[in-house]
């Protein structure tokens, strides 16, 4: 993995061979969030950083066939993934090389890798989920 690339947005994941998304939890409400909010929107209390589950279940997905923003591959897929361990449904890019494997309820695994560019047009790291189990690609 190209470790000198910046994340597409600061503070949303830890890269590396076992990447994790950085969410938050409100100690009062026990509600989890991703991405981390400024304060808990329910009680306005401070929230604490937590690492979210790297395994999820695909709730729904779509494949965009037209020319993409941010030099994302054409076609590419996105979806909403249920992180069942956290009780959260999150939006994510999906593995562009595994588009044909997508299906409702399919188990998916978190990865972080160099895909596309950021708002400054510079190559960057994005989080995505893949249907392929095990190990860094």
């Amino acid at each position: 993995m190209n470790n000198d690339l910046k994340p597409v947005m600061e503070g949303i994941f830890e890269a590396g061979p076992s990447p994790q998304l950085i969410g938050a939890i409100c100690p009062e409400c026990q509600q989890k969030f991703f991405p981390k909010p400024m304060v808990c929107p329910q009680c306005l209390g401070e929230v604490q950083d937590i690492k979210l589950s790297p395994v999820g279940k695909l709730y729904t997905y779509a494949i965009l066939r037209t020319k993409a923003m941010y030099k994302l591959p054409q076609p590419y897929a996105v979806g909403w993934v249920d992180l069942e361990a956290d009780g959260l449904r999150i939006f994510t890019l999906l593995d562009p090389e595994k588009i044909e494997d997508l299906d409702f309820g399919k188990k998916v695994f978190l990865r972080v890798g160099p895909i596309g560019v950021d708002n400054n047009g510079e190559a960057c790291l994005r989080y995505y989920f893949t249907t392929q189990d095990g190990g860094d690609k």
């Binding site: 597409v8 947005m9 949303i12 969030f33 991405p35 709730y59 729904t60 997905y61 779509a62 494949i63 965009l64 066939r65 037209t66 993409a68 923003m69 941010y70 994302l72 590419y76 996105v78 979806g79 909403w80 249920d82 009780g87 959260l88 449904r89 939006f91 994510t92 890019l93 409702f104 950021d118 708002n119 994005r126 989080y127 995505y128």
Partner: protein, 382 residues
Amino acid sequence: MRPVDIIGVGITNFGKHIEKSLVELGGKVAVEALKDAGVKPSQINAGFFANMQAGSLFSDFTIGQNVFYQAGINSVPVFNVENACTSGSSAFNLAWMGVASGAYDMAMVLGAEKLIIPNLGLMQAGTSELDTLEGMVVPNAFAMRANLHMATYGTTKEQLAMVSVKNRRHASMNPLAQFRNPITVEEVLNAPMIADPLTRLSCCPNADGAAALVLCASELSGRYTSKPIRVAGSVLVSGSYKNPCNLAQWEADKRASSIAYEMAGLGPEDLDAVECHDAFTISEILHYEGLGLCPEGEGGRFIESGATTLGGKIPVNLSGGLLSKGHPLGATAVAQIIEGVRQLRGEAGSLQVDGAKVFMAECMGADKAGDVKTCSVNIITK
């Protein structure tokens, strides 16, 4: 709050207006609405101008004053409103509140947009949003809903395509629509794929256009028109952003329409015609369910039954909808209400619903957290 009527309207065709500036388009409909209402510019106590993209596309701002200036409307408060696709209905809601409260006797609502420009690209929810950075653009936000609706309720690609076919058939009778040639289900399905299952003919095109209307306190409207159209319910809501989100249903539609039905003392069974935000074919299917026109999950079978076509139980998007007219964002939701005014005045020509008395305009805009940022429902009656 006191009753409020619509007493005048003005509208351009939706399509290419390359030769005209945004301000010229707006000025034209402002003058038209004043003349239709039979009022002088000095009788307008406030102006509400809706536009979404001119700030980013043309580095233009506080455009409403420039538009109203052309129609001789000056000195009074002018508000510039941006609320995505509901910019026009948000301006309408504010103007209605202003007149209903007694602050103004008469107000103008005007929406205008120019989107026919080279390399416009796909709409997205803002480049500072994480979802956008992770690949969310508007077509795949709707394709995810379409895929889930098909998997959950058995809705078919053909049923989705029927929305485009039905709206295009209506558009063939609307001289103001951009695309007026009838199309078939096969043509929709075989058009270039944008985001499966949505093809180019399942997505609304861009357009330039403008629309304006004059609101007046009901106690005064009899001085200007014999056909005042009453604002029976006007509602604007934001998303609730609950997690987990439900992408197969639109809670905001249900919430906004139930408030509007209560304000109007009416229900879905009372509606004679509806214009809704058919930015994509799946949107119209979801609106049938959200507005209570059919039960949850039945939207696909509802379009197939013919209920929403001219002559059906509850005709939807008789104008041809955004799928045929195009979607000049700021003008869209004002134009939807004008379609209703025409129906209730009995001026809809070959698209007229006989004896139409109750009309609903629904609009929705912008994605956030798997929900919508903004949703409007207006019910007007005669």
